[in-house]
């Protein structure tokens, strides 16, 4: 009796631990804005490994699976420079503004992560 209760308890603990590891499903959105919007020398942007289409009027709203994505820009020599991490949550929108006059371009998050060493380079929705 006691053994089975213990097994049940362990199973419960395992289930909660697993649930904490499994990322929240669903889809959210990333809104990317560039300043200045009308710049002709817009750098090529990448969300993880996917190259983004040039932003129309300096803005785009992209649907994205919930999770963390890396926003990168192509810099001199074709190298990719990490601008910031973007945390996408289910049915929420994460907005990031990229200042493209700076070299390399810089992310400005509407809402930063509050914890972690990369907090000021992590935008969340």
């Amino acid at each position: 009796m006691r053994a089975s209760a213990g097994r049940l308890g362990s199973a419960g603990l395992l289930a909660s631990a697993l649930a904490a590891c499994i990322p929240e499903g669903g889809t959210g959105f990333v809104q990317i804005k560039t300043v200045p919007a009308s710049s002709v020398s817009q750098p090529s942007l990448y969300l993880d490994s996917v190259k983004l289409e040039p932003l129309k009027k300096g803005a785009a709203v992209l649907s994205r699976k919930a999770g963390t994505s890396k926003l990168q820009a192509e810099v001199a020599g074709g190298q990719l420079a990490l601008l910031c991490d973007i945390v996408v949550k289910k049915n929420r929108i994460t907005t990031v503004t990229i200042s493209i006059v700076e070299r390399p371009p810089r992310c400005q998050c509407t809402h930063n992560a509050s914890q972690g060493s990369q907090a000021n380079r992590t935008c969340i929705g």
Binding site: T27, G28, F29, Q31, E53, K56, A59, A60, V61, L62, S63, N91, R92, I93, T95, G125
Partner: protein, 219 residues
């Protein structure tokens, strides 16, 4: 009434399609390979028009859900319940936004339709097989289709911005309510809810007008 309007728009589009296809097929020196290329150029426009029409038919149902959710929130004094209602509204707005996002199917089809139509027009303008007036007739039709496709894409751009703004409003109000509940300020949270419902009503009216104004190309 709605059914008859829909079928009327479908008939108009079919007529426009027939006009262009008929005009193209009347070219006596049209080679078979050329005719296939014409048909291919029109397919993306038709596909885009169908998807735009599908969106404009479905969006009002979702907008109705926003209106209904707003009414429910307005009558609730239980903040946690209202908060859960906001969460459901976010799902509805996210559904709408997903349909018009820049990497969504509609945007992809719109870009494809425009690219094919512009290429087709370029080829036609340099085509010397037809009489000038025949070439002009065909080119005018393609120009009009391009204009209509661009206009539909611009309307969807505006809708995308509105949905994004609405989603942001919902999530920031929800976060603010959470913060207020953390410091046990339920009365202030109720005030935020009332303000939110007023914003939602305005947004819903704006969306109704915006979505009602979107016309698929070829209509």
């Amino acid at each position: 009434m709605i059914g008859s309007l829909v079928s009327l728009s479908a008939v108009k589009r079919a007529a426009a399609v027939l006009a262009v296809v008929g005009a193209i097929s009347s070219g006596s020196m049209w080679a078979e390979a050329g005719a296939n290329a014409d048909a291919d150029a029109f397919v993306p426009v038709e596909e885009y028009a169908r998807k735009v029409e599908e969106f404009t038919k479905n969006a009002p149902n979702l907008n109705k859900k926003i209106e209904d959710g707003t009414k429910v929130i307005d009558n609730l004094a239980d903040v946690p319940k209202a908060r859960s209602e906001i969460e459901q509204l976010r799902a509805v707005v996210a559904d709408l936004l997903g349909r018009v996002s820049d990497n969504g199917e509609l945007a992809r089809l719109g870009a494809k339709a425009l690219e094919h139509s512009r290429n087709k027009l370029k080829v036609l303008e340099q085509d010397t097989r037809f009489k000038p007036e025949e070439r002009q007739f065909l080119a005018d039709h393609w120009r009009e289709l391009i204009r209509q496709t661009e206009r539909a894409a611009e309307d969807l751009d505006r809708a995308r911005l509105e949905f994004a703004e609405l989603l942001r409003t919902l999530q920031t109000r929800e976060d603010f309510i959470d913060e207020l509940l953390q410091i046990r300020r339920a009365a202030e949270a109720i005030k935020v809810l009332r303000q939110l419902t007023s914003e939602l009503r305005d947004a819903s009216e704006k969306l109704k007008t915006l979505i009602g104004g979107i016309k698929p190309p070829g209509v």
